[in-house]
């Protein structure tokens, strides 16, 4: 009983802090603070995934997003000029249309996927999530049923590496 209450408190706490961190990204001025807010949001989502029993995704959320992507982002921000005009004036002239579009999008999504939209979904299955999403079950499903997508992601990563090298070399050849 106490464990279930504690789990619910932690789950909603992580979700709430993640939401606050996401909202903070809109108002913080310096990109480094925005990056830290995004890192908070990602760590909180990792906590949510862990509490939902999807540990594989929680691990990769921390390993790929927080450790790789955000460290890369923070490193790039440190290379940039702190006197950039976008560091002092945060918002474009589209503040009001953007905010209205965001609220409308949220309402439309809530209409489509909210309580009415998810009412027809099947209830939680009897199989425990730790069985369904354990590392072994996930790996078997991944390499048994979804092996083609796994291979396609490796092709995508190679294409990304080639594209990044091409961008860097194009800049170097123009300069030198």
């Amino acid at each position: 009983m106490i464990e279930s209450v504690l789990e619910s408190v932690l789950l909603y706490g992580f979700a709430f802090v993640g939401l606050i961190a996401g909202a903070a990204m809109l108002v913080l001025r310096h990109p480094m603070r925005v990056a830290l807010a995004l890192s908070y949001a990602m760590i909180c989502l990792g906590g949510v995934y862990g509490l939902l029993g999807v540990h594989v995704i929680a691990v990769f959320q921390i390993l790929i997003y927080v450790s790789a992507v955000m460290v890369f982002m923070v490193y790039v921000i440190m290379l940039l000029d702190v006197r950039d005009p976008s560091f002092t004036r945060r918002f474009s002239h589209l503040v009001i249309p953007g905010a209205v579009a965001g609220v409308l999008l949220f309402l439309a999504l809530e209409r489509a996927l909210g309580p009415a939209g998810t009412a027809t979904m099947p209830a939680t299955v009897s199989m425990t999530t730790s069985d369904a999403f354990s590392m072994k079950a996930f790996s078997v499903a991944f390499l048994d049923e979804y092996w083609l997508y796994f291979e396609l992601t490796s092709v995508l990563l190679v294409a990304a590496v080639v594209a990044a090298v091409a961008v860097i070399r194009a800049d170097g050849s123009k300069r030198g």
């Binding site: 996401g22 809109l26 997003y65 790039v76 965001g102 949220f106 999403f133 499903a141 991944f142």
Partner: protein, 100 residues
């Protein structure tokens, strides 16, 4: 509201916040980070649905989104650095002449 509905509502809010960030912020890097927030919102909804239905497909899709996000950042960051070195600014409106 049960747990799945609350998590789906949070995921929708994260997606909407990310979209607002992409539209209203001026800095290219901040816009990129807001796109990452949108992807995280999608991931949260997929995990919530996977946990609700017990199916592995949404969880596999989340893993593929991780890879796509990593590839996106791997290309986007060199492009942003290239633009910043050429024009010495990260204000998105400066690059309006890139429109076709």
């Amino acid at each position: 509201m049960d747990r799945t509905q609350i998590l789906v509502a949070v995921s929708m809010a994260l997606f909407a916040l990310g979209l607002v960030g992409v539209v209203v912020r001026r800095n290219l890097l901040v816009m990129l980070m807001c796109m990452e927030l949108m992807l995280n919102g999608v991931n949260l909804s997929l995990v919530a649905f996977a946990q609700q239905t017990g199916a592995a497909a949404p969880a596999v899709l989340v893993f593929l989104i991780f890879v796509v996000a990593a590839a996106e950042i791997g290309i986007a960051i060199p492009i942003v650095l290239l633009l910043a070195r050429r024009r010495r600014t990260l204000v998105a409106s400066t690059y309006a002449d890139l429109k076709g």
